[in-house]
Symmetry: C2
Subunit: 307 residues, 2 copies
């Protein structure tokens, strides 16, 4: 799976994933009004607005970026209707040729992780037939439970040709509270990174592994160190833009082949129409603003990678 994502990153010349993390505040009135009118001012209406919002963005960016990353929490917040919108978003994005990284941060004991892995990347057998749950291309995974919480995901990656990104060093301010603590002189995140590299050997696909890592743009020096510990690991980099990470911080996340990292931006792209920089789109032209912001991000990253 990672080789297909890389092909798309190279052909679109954009190591970019757009985070589809909708909030009602990001959605212009013209979309919300119609959805509330049709479905009610309730979770059904809000979920319909999420879906219509995502669709406009996907329609305007699918030809210039390789992937989207819906954050399931935003959809879960609306209960069942929200998860229906999550699933519709996944299906539509894949139909348009985008890779879908489900940002689900799942992880549990072995038998439970196996269910999560089938839910998001695999299939369930009922009678003699197989059915997909959410059918993402990649999912994010939490490593706190150790190998037997991660390996069921690897099995599904190998069987179904999918991938995962395991949390190593997250982008949030308090990520250091546990992740940075020293174990035999090295931070916990490096220990996790070594494991990710080891797990990665079980699912190689060309020069890189289907088992990737999450490392926040907000910690560029750690990114540089982690790049060396995990040479064949693709790094999903959140925290660019709204969370404070800048293009110039990102060089260390890439390998010398110009590959090895895919950078996420959520708010900076999907809510671009609300920002001063893209005020020409402030009349609710969500998709056009998202496209302009994605193209600007592409330029910013191209500079980084050519420095």
């Amino acid at each position: 799976m990672i080789s297909k994502l890389i092909d798309s990153i190279v052909s679109k010349d954009a190591p970019i994933v757009v985070g589809l993390d909708p909030k009602l505040d990001y959605i212009p009135g013209r979309i919300k009004d119609v959805c509330f009118e049709e479905k009610g001012r309730n979770p059904e209406g809000a979920a319909e607005a999420f879906w219509q919002f995502n669709k406009e963005i996907i329609d305007c960016i699918y030809d210039i970026v390789p992937a989207v990353k819906p954050q399931i929490a935003m959809y879960e917040e609306l209960g069942i209707p929200g998860l229906v919108a999550f699933k519709k978003t996944i299906d539509y994005a894949r139909e348009k040729g985008l890779f879908v990284i489900g940002d689900v941060k799942r992880g549990d004991i072995g038998s439970t992780s196996a269910s999560y892995a089938e839910a998001h990347l695999g299939q369930v057998k009922i009678g003699e037939e197989f059915f997909s749950g959410f059918d993402e291309d990649f999912a994010t995974v939490n490593p706190y439970l150790g190998s037997d919480g991660v390996k069921p995901f690897i099995s599904v990656c190998n069987r179904q040709d999918r991938g995962i990104f395991v949390l190593v060093k997250t982008s949030n301010p308090s990520s250091g509270e546990f992740q940075d603590r020293l174990i035999d002189g090295k931070p916990l995140y490096e220990l996790v990174a070594k494991k990710v590299n080891e797990w990665g050997n079980e699912s190689m696909d060309g020069s890189y592994s289907n088992i990737g890592a999450v490392v926040g743009a907000t910690y560029p020096q750690m990114g540089q160190a982690l790049r060396k510990i995990m040479p064949k690991t693709y790094i999903l980099v959140p925290g660019y833009g709204a969370q404070g990470g800048k293009g110039e911080d990102l060089k260390g996340f890439f390998n010398s082949d110009g590959l090895g990292a895919i950078v996420n931006s959520s708010r900076g792209i999907i809510a671009a129409w609300k920002s001063d920089k893209y005020s020409i789109f402030s009349d609710g032209r969500v998709g056009e603003a998202a496209r302009a912001a994605a193209l600007d991000m592409k330029k910013d990253l191209a500079l980084v990678n050519k420095k």
Copy 2:
């Protein structure tokens, strides 16, 4: 919220939570046949079977145990229909006076954890009205992202009178891979436990806190040490029964007041009808077998607590 759960544990004399983690293999043919007939041999039919199975169990145990713990992964595996069954199970269990611990192991950066917290324990505001997503009483939370991944849950606990159980030392074989590694001479799980104790001060409810911990029955000595580090923390103890934890191992998880821990059994109760010990119920009498197994577990734990 924890004080209400404690009242129910005391009045039912049962520090027990029944894990509602259905699998098609656990469900007798008579239930599956009807559901597949009605909804098809597909995720809708399987989810209906999960729900009917859970309902039979709830009907037979609601008067003798205080709580149930549905593991969302099993439902997520069936996609949207599975999550509909998860929600129906929560609503029905609460209607029958049971406390519901959503075993969801969520956790992310602050703004995303806030969405998860509202999804499972809180409410979302749409227009001028508030709507609940899944509406559990408690949820389990993964601490890998540190305080700002946990605190949004605490806010919702305080606003909505709910509780959480934070993963400290999990029951699985490889939990030691990261959790047992020494930091300043102490294992990581003790560092997490200290944080849980600290977070707990922000949500006290009587003698205990709404911020609980998960510590596996499979690590009894660690349980004993953790009990002392977190004196006001309620401990949710998975791993009893099918995972290998025994009643005699559990004494150290309780405080001298006989409180402080609630022990989960999933397979051992919900699939009791399939085991040799309860073979008189082997003709698919799921609920009666579950009741017998829950009563046996109650006896086993009563002995422990009186030793």
